[in-house]
């Protein structure tokens, strides 16, 4: 039996290559081994969270087998405050109209249909806004960064960059709301076709940057040591 790691031109070469391949696979480290962020950040259970660490039951369409989702980000929940308040006000509007009658000239059946139609439209608007927030996500895996953007009905854009193509990562956090609720923007410069990926209004931007730096370092280390997946 060939010794581990031995490369040679003899008859046992195929077996040696398999041994080396298996050994190299085992040398690929788990994120928890090289990432302080993965060790310290608690695993997220809530499906509504804007900062999800190692989310359970989450997959995306271009995910490779064996690729692990480390971080799933959305815009901070507080960015939804505008439309939530608008929906609440809109739902209360028909009650206000009892005191400010504007539609008394319509027959009663028309008035009732107007109110029903109004509530339906408001619920539809709120549902649409929720879907936009929920599905516009930024995904960081152990191999890639993926940005899913659903711009309008039936239009989506997916941008991705491999970790080893990341050149520069910066973040900004400023303003009263962002400072108080602790969210900001992360800008990722890449060497790929899409020069910059922007994570807008994400929670804990400094943690995101730290994780990305750790992943970049690990990719560089893998290349130096010849470790492959």
């Amino acid at each position: 039996m060939a010794a581990k790691g031995k490369k040679g031109g003899d008859a046992g070469e195929a077996g040696d290559s398999e041994e080396v391949g298996r050994e190299r696979t085992h040398l690929v480290r788990k994120p928890e081994e090289y990432s302080e962020v993965m060790r310290k950040e608690p695993k997220t259970r809530s499906p509504w969270a804007a900062f999800m660490v190692r989310p359970d039951g989450f997959t995306f369409e271009t995910q490779d087998s064996g690729e692990r989702v480390l971080l799933l980000l959305r815009r901070h929940g507080v960015t939804n405050l505008g439309w939530i308040v608008a929906v609440i006000v809109a739902l209360m509007l028909p009650i206000v109209l009892v005191f400010v009658p504007m539609f008394l000239w319509l027959p009663e059946n028309f008035q009732v249909m107007t109110v029903i139609g109004w509530y339906l439209a408001v619920v539809g608007y709120g549902f649409e806004r929720f879907l936009t927030w929920y599905f516009n996500v930024y995904i960081i895996t152990d191999e890639r960064i993926v940005d899913y953007d659903f711009y309008s009905l039936l239009y989506k854009r997916v941008s991705e960059a491999k970790i080893d193509k990341v050149e520069d990562v910066t973040f900004e956090l400023g303003g009263a709301s962002r400072s108080f609720f602790h969210y900001g923007n992360v800008y990722i410069q890449t060497a790929g076709e899409r020069r910059e990926l922007d994570f807008e209004d994400v929670p804990k931007p400094e943690v995101v940057v730290k994780l990305l730096n750790e992943l970049v370092l690990e990719e560089e280390q893998e290349k130096l040591e010849g470790r492959v997946k």
Partner: protein, 77 residues
């Protein structure tokens, strides 16, 4: 008297127009509700998660309610 009848007929025409307006608006909303179903389907296929089922159900419920409201407008107005 004839003048009164003509005015009454005029008001009925107006409300017929209003009814048509309501029905057209409801139909447009029905189309929107149908698109939302397709949108949710596209979204959950792109990004899976534990809320896949509930969101699909909500989209269909939304469409169902829009259909009922359209039927109500057709019959009641």
């Amino acid at each position: 008297m004839e003048i009164l009848e003509q005015i009454t007929i005029g008001i009925d025409d107006i409300f017929s127009l209003v009814k048509i307006f309501y029905l057209v608006a409801m139909m447009i909303y029905l189309v929107f509700a149908g698109i939302v179903i397709r949108q949710v389907q596209m979204m959950v296929e792109a990004i899976g998660g534990v809320l896949r089922g509930p969101l699909r159900l909500m989209a269909w419920l939304h469409f169902g309610v829009a259909l009922i409201v359209f039927g109500l407008a057709l019959v009641w107005l």
